[in-house]
Symmetry: C2
Subunit: 436 residues, 2 copies
């Protein structure tokens, strides 16, 4: 089965950032088999899509989110310490397997509609999340949270670790899904559990994803207790010898960055600018990370913290915050920001077969239309994506060669049904949330 | 002629921020004649619109833009000193009356589609801009730029001032349009011209709008030449005795803020966060301005500087930048941000008849749908507007009682035609821009 996409401005995001202003791309089964400038005679294909001058690029990669948390969106946005005031109590009392499942389906639908083709999730009941990913045919890292308190899916960390090991065993051979271990944060786990997590990662060659250097009190606590940064502490435990996706990293020091640069494992940072600045936590040292060659992808964080799950919001925030922080308009031109949101994100999650539009790669791609009022004129397609576009400009999306969004709608799901199901599963949660 | 809008979550943005979660609003001719909770029996009306649970609020007010600059969008976004490298040369050589007209029609269409019902424009050929506003029936302040160099519409400032005086005479009685004088900046005008502008403002009771304290070199130049800030300099010339809409104000000092607070005239600040931070210029002291009771509205700046013309982008940027700058998550809760984008903006532009949904006010309003994937769940409608929504959620718009957007499309214009006309008028400009 071949699909031809023609009349598109192709941003390959390959190593040379090759573009084809009037280009085409050919998919066979799950792979890209041709890409280039429009030839005089186009190859034959069962399905032909006219991109009408839209921008075709690799799918966006959301390197940090919590799909189960749609029920929290717009709750207590401007309230300090909502983690302890809203999140933990509501999660522990009202988050069920069915609610995580319904929320994840909704979140994945939302991501697909905004051009996100793969993501890294961190939450509870991750076996359910993996099942939803499998059913919806998206690419994902699914990380089961380990935290030193009773949670909605486990009475203690022993149970969490056992749940997680089963997750790793069950999903490790899946073509689209990478199971992972997700210790919540350095300051919310016991040392023994943090050690057990490294052992688990090594046993299954599974990635670890974790909130690190996110909180100012986390930094203070480690300075006082261990005279170390959380990152240095984790490095001593062997985290940097693993595949390690570090989320936030707001308070990483220069010494931390050097540790990351010297890591033996495949280490990357999920930069969540919109969530980090909405909560007034600060701006991660991305210029310094990139200068040391560390892979930085973009993350939305959960719908509770970041509200939207699209990477357009993130791209615009990243560029404005880092230019301003560094007093340098020329820093991070749009092309580099699009790279962070696509090819660097894929690298961050260890998805080696995607992240650029090249022959032989798996076909994870997004078509952004340029007919809407905000998308004219376009001198520079990267600029248009970063500074002008929003999620509603996403016209079509393919994951692993399968078209999942067409004419701005889901191909296989009905959004109204997904919402109705989620709404029904949310009733007790909502009643409690309104009381908080 | 009466229009009834029912089944809406009404955010009146009145002094008490009254909300009606299940509400209605009734328009007769250009005014709101009823608003409140859904009654058992609804009033009769020729036209009935079911808002389907959407959010109804006062139209967004864009307090600073340059409608004529659509042709520049996505050109040289990440290049330092683009004002002198791209803007001035291209404007002087290729900006024509017809191009300003076509660009303004397109920009107004874009604003309407994103819920902007009134704005403050500053550019050249403003008589054309006013004609377009009149034809498209939007509310606007139209300010003719005065700058100490030959421009696309005037060989010198004498000619600009004469053009501007004609503009003031012609439009001063218009129900929707307020003509204004727009000196470019303190450092790009001669003192004699700056004095003539105050005299003109006083003669016609016309507002002045101006870029102030935007550039670091502007601050240095005034410190060296006058041992004053630009704002103190303007205060001495009488600007703060006029109706004065100050754009940017990034480098306003505490002493400047006190001068603004003590002003005899109606003084306001147009805060353009997305443009200011994209260009790495900095973050205006909005917390301090608001603390002194100064009216702060939001502005997109021109499509060249800010790229998008909607206030959703601005609201999200404002809240994230100011929370982070002040290390305070609770600062500027969503309700205050929505107020800046609507009622405070209307106050900033001196449009006393609009800015809130109250009986007797002119009907400038916007309906934001909540069916799209990003708009669920909603515990707090203000939060949903600030943190979740984007321009594509705007379903319907009324200005002065007239519906101008319906089902996300323009009622009286065809967007394809507006784009085609603009594209045709842009040919020489584009050819030259591609050479820069």
């Amino acid at each position: 089965m071949k699909t031809l996409i023609k009349n598109v401005h192709v941003l390959t995001m390959d190593e040379h950032r090759q573009e084809y202003k009037n280009g085409y791309l050919l998919i066979e089964d799950e792979r890209i088999i041709a890409v280039g400038a429009m030839p005089e005679s186009l190859p034959a294909a069962e399905k032909v899509i006219d991109g009408a001058g839209g921008i075709l690029l690799p799918g966006f990669v959301n390197t940090h989110t919590h799909c189960g948390m749609i029920p929290f969106r717009s709750l207590g946005d401007d309230v300090p310490d909502r983690l302890r005031r809203f999140l933990f109590p509501l999660e522990n009392a009202y988050m069920t397997k069915d609610l995580v499942k319904a929320s994840s389906a909704y979140a994945i639908a939302e991501m697909l509609l905004s051009g996100v083709t793969s993501f890294c999730d961190m939450y509870y009941f991750e076996d359910e999340v993996a099942e939803v990913c499998h059913a919806m045919q998206v690419r994902a890292v699914v990380g089961e949270t380990i935290i030193d308190m009773p949670t909605c899916d486990s009475p203690n960390t022993q149970a969490s670790l056992a749940y997680c090991e089963k997750l790793l065993q069950k999903w490790q051979q899946h073509p689209l899904i990478k199971p992972a271990i997700a210790p919540h944060a350095p300051n919310t786990n016991k040392i023994a559990d943090l050690q057990a997590i490294v052992a688990l990662s090594q046993k299954y060659q599974a990635p670890i994803t974790m909130h690190v250097a996110e909180m100012d009190y986390e930094m203070t606590e480690f300075a006082e207790k261990y005279q170390q940064t959380p990152l240095a502490f984790l490095a001593d435990l062997g985290y940097l010898d693993c595949e390690f996706i570090l989320a936030h990293g707001i308070h990483l020091t220069q010494a931390d960055i050097e540790l990351l640069a010297a890591a033996k494992g495949q280490v990357s940072v999920a930069h969540c600018i919109a969530a980090n600045t909405k909560s007034a936590k600060g701006v991660a040292p991305v210029k310094e990370l990139v200068a040391q060659g560390i892979t930085v992808g973009l993350g939305t964080d959960g719908p509770s913290s970041g509200n939207t799950l699209d990477l357009f919001t993130q791209m615009r925030m990243v560029v404005n915050f880092h230019k301003t922080k560094n007093h340098d308009r020329a820093l991070f031109p749009a092309k580099e920001i699009v790279a962070m949101a696509t090819t660097n994100g894929a690298k961050a999650l260890g998805f080696k077969d995607v992240g650029s539009l090249e022959v032989g790669k798996k076909a994870d791609l997004v078509l952004v239309e340029t007919q809407s009022v905000n998308m004219f004129p376009i001198y520079d397609a990267y600029s248009a994506l970063v500074y002008s576009a929003n999620a509603s400009n996403v016209a079509a999306v393919w994951v692993n060669g399968q078209q999942l969004v067409k004419n701005k709608e889901l191909v296989h799901e009905n959004l109204t049904d997904l919402r109705a199901t989620l709404y029904q599963k949310m009733d007790k949660f909502v009643a409690a949330a309104r009381q908080q």
